[in-house]
């Protein structure tokens, strides 16, 4: 009640256009650009996806949901969606596992912490294209005599049994192709968790220890519950990156059917097959998948901020 009362004069002050008008004017170029490049283009893409423009020169005529109907029953598209699901699960499991593990090992402070942190994070500064060059070679599918890359390393350290065709494996190939992405982004999840741990006051640990809590109980009942917003944020950010995956798959596999995902399929359809309407429909489905994750998160963050 008192808060509201205190805020009221400010609100009234802000409702006069002479006060807020100049601000809106200052940022209107940005707003117009984002409006055109994001919303107007999404609308145009949607319109294209509802048309029968199946070559570059066809006119754009409305055909309703035909393209979507075909797409959703197409084996190849379903295959790309399944691949994306496997990739996302593997990627999230991997980054969360290593991110949390590294944060746990580091959070109490250790000699050389800064160095460890910096090195776990550095793959993030590298492009997927550069990383792809070396991972393409590491994940070489040859085994035995011809083995190169990681398969050869397994031989050298006497773990011959671990040799496998990596991303050339049906279905599970997606797990292999998630490895470079896990390598690049585990450090990011670590940084998030580490910031979360450091945000918890030391007194709480002391209090728990005085109460006789074991180290395990301390983490289970005191620290982890407070990290759930961090874990949630990490899942959303990593999850939406995973759904958009393109670079690493393009660079490593050069568009092999085996590891195709909607983003690379869309590229094939647009550039190699030259079918804009179908490519637009694939892109729209991808947008819908990402939006299902992101829109509730944006609303949730927005509300949480309003409350605070």
């Amino acid at each position: 009640m008192t808060d509201q009362a205190r805020q009221r004069p400010k609100v009234r002050h802000r409702t006069r256009i002479s006060t807020w008008g100049p601000g809106l004017l200052l940022i209107s170029p940005s707003l117009v650009l984002v409006g055109i490049f994001v919303y107007w283009l999404i609308a145009k893409n949607t319109k294209l996806s509802l048309s029968d423009k199946h070559t570059a020169i066809d006119p754009e005529e409305y055909v309703g949901l035909d393209n979507y109907r075909e797409l959703l029953t197409e084996d190849r598209f379903q295959h790309s969606l399944t691949n994306l699901a496997i990739y996302t699960v593997a990627f999230l499991a991997g980054t969360m596992f290593f991110g949390l593990l590294w944060a746990l090992l580091l959070e109490k402070g250790i000699r050389g912490e800064g160095v460890f942190r910096a090195i776990y994070l550095f793959p993030l500064a590298i492009s997927f294209v550069s990383a792809g060059v070396v991972w393409r070679w590491l994940l070489n599918s040859a085994e035995g005599e011809d083995a190169a890359g990681l398969n050869r390393l397994f031989q050298i350290v006497g773990l011959d049994g671990l040799q496998n065709p990596w991303w050339d494996t049906p279905n599970w190939g997606m797990v292999a192709i998630a490895l470079p992405a896990i390598w690049q982004l585990s450090g990011y999840v670590m940084a998030l968790f580490l910031a979360g741990f450091r945000g918890i006051p030391d007194e709480q640990r002391e209090a728990a220890r005085i109460d006789g809590a074991s180290e395990f109980q301390l983490y289970r009942h005191v620290l982890f519950p407070q990290l759930s917003p961090v874990a949630f944020a990490a899942l959303i950010v990593a999850g939406h990156m995973s759904l958009k995956v393109f670079d690493i798959i393009y660079v490593i596999s050069r568009n092999t059917y085996q590891v195709e995902v909607p983003a690379t399929y869309m590229w094939q359809v647009q550039i190699l097959q030259g079918d804009p309407a179908k490519a637009a429909a694939i892109a729209s489905v991808l947008l819908a998948v990402v939006a299902v994750l992101i829109v509730p998160y944006l609303i949730y963050s927005h509300r949480a901020e309003k409350r605070s």
Binding site: F37, F97, Y120, L192, E215, V290, L298
Partner: protein, 292 residues
């Protein structure tokens, strides 16, 4: 790879220690961390070692050994192929980072300290732009930029695109940062009769350096590393270094030495930025999770 190699070694939390109520010893933790460090470094080792090998020396049996003859041939080939694209990437990433940071600063100021009706909704709508899969705008985008706006494909088209799609994250970083500036400062300026532009120029801008460092680094890195937009809006002849590197490493006669050297050359600028200014780099990361 990392998962299969190390999973058995390290339990996610010190369950086994709980009964004795002892912490996982610092030495054990240190050794585990060191082990992961080695794993993270494996790709870098391969890049370095291979880049210095001679062309003949890529038999499968020698892949993990040091070069028997150290040579710079791979580096010379890569430099020859990447020199011009590298320069184009500089011409793209530097202005791109500067322009979107400036726009982001103005947006962040207005959306946090000079709000208008529905400004919070506008902010959320802008933010959405940083999460979309760019495929969902790509086909009409190419037409809009290169045909409707008649902007030359290659670096000019990419510059416009990166500036616009950099606005959401820069706005977010500046808005979060300006939220921490005490309102009293702004109210005081208002009482003194300062208008919006004066408040921004005299009060806000002089305090903005830390946020600028974060957005400049973030934008530079993401523009430098971009591949998707470059693939649709440029070619090998007018595109940035990521396109040239893909073509260098994807040819019929794969020259591993040159590819690996090229990957290191292409990654060098962002790595140097990371090493020198890593602290601020992390700032941009955190903003990505909307938590400021």
């Amino acid at each position: 790879m990392t998962a299969t190699l190390t999973a058995p070694k390290a339990p996610p939390h010190p369950v086994g220690q709980s009964r004795s109520r002892r912490r996982l010893g610092p030495t054990v933790r240190f050794l585990l961390l060191l082990g992961f460090l080695v794993l993270v470094f494996i790709p870098v080792y391969v890049l370095l070692v291979t880049s210095f090998k001679a062309r003949g020396e890529i038999a499968a049996s020698e892949t993990w050994s040091l070069p028997s003859d150290w040579t710079l041939d791979g580096w010379e080939t890569a430099w020859e192929r990447l020199r011009d694209p590298l320069w184009r990437s500089v011409q793209l990433a530097v202005p791109g980072a500067v322009i979107s940071s400036i726009l982001g600063s103005m947006n962040g100021f207005v959306l946090s300290r000079w709000r208008f009706p529905l400004s919070n909704l506008v902010f959320v709508l802008v933010l959405f732009g940083m999460f979309i899969p760019y495929q969902a705008v790509m086909i009409p985008l190419v037409e809009l930029v290169t045909v409707d706006a008649n902007i030359e494909s290659g670096i000019p088209a990419l510059l416009v695109t990166h500036v616009v799609f950099g606005i959401p994250i820069c706005t977010l970083i500046f808005r979060n940062y300006y939220e921490t500036i005490p309102n009293d400062l702004i109210e005081a300026a208002r009482v003194d009769g300062a208008g919006m532009l004066q408040t921004y120029a005299r009060i806000i801008l002089p305090l903005s350096a830390p946020a600028f460092v974060v957005t400049l680094i973030w934008q530079f890195t993401s523009i430098w590393n971009d591949f998707l937009f470059a693939l649709f809006l440029s070619t090998d002849d007018n595109g940035p270094v990521t396109i040239a590197l893909t073509n260098l490493s994807g040819g019929q006669l794969s020259n591993y030495q040159a590819s690996m050297a090229g990957a290191l050359i292409a990654a060098a600028p962002t790595l140097i930025v990371y090493i020198v200014l890593g602290r601020y780099f992390i700032g941009g990361l955190m903003a990505g999770s909307l938590k400021g």
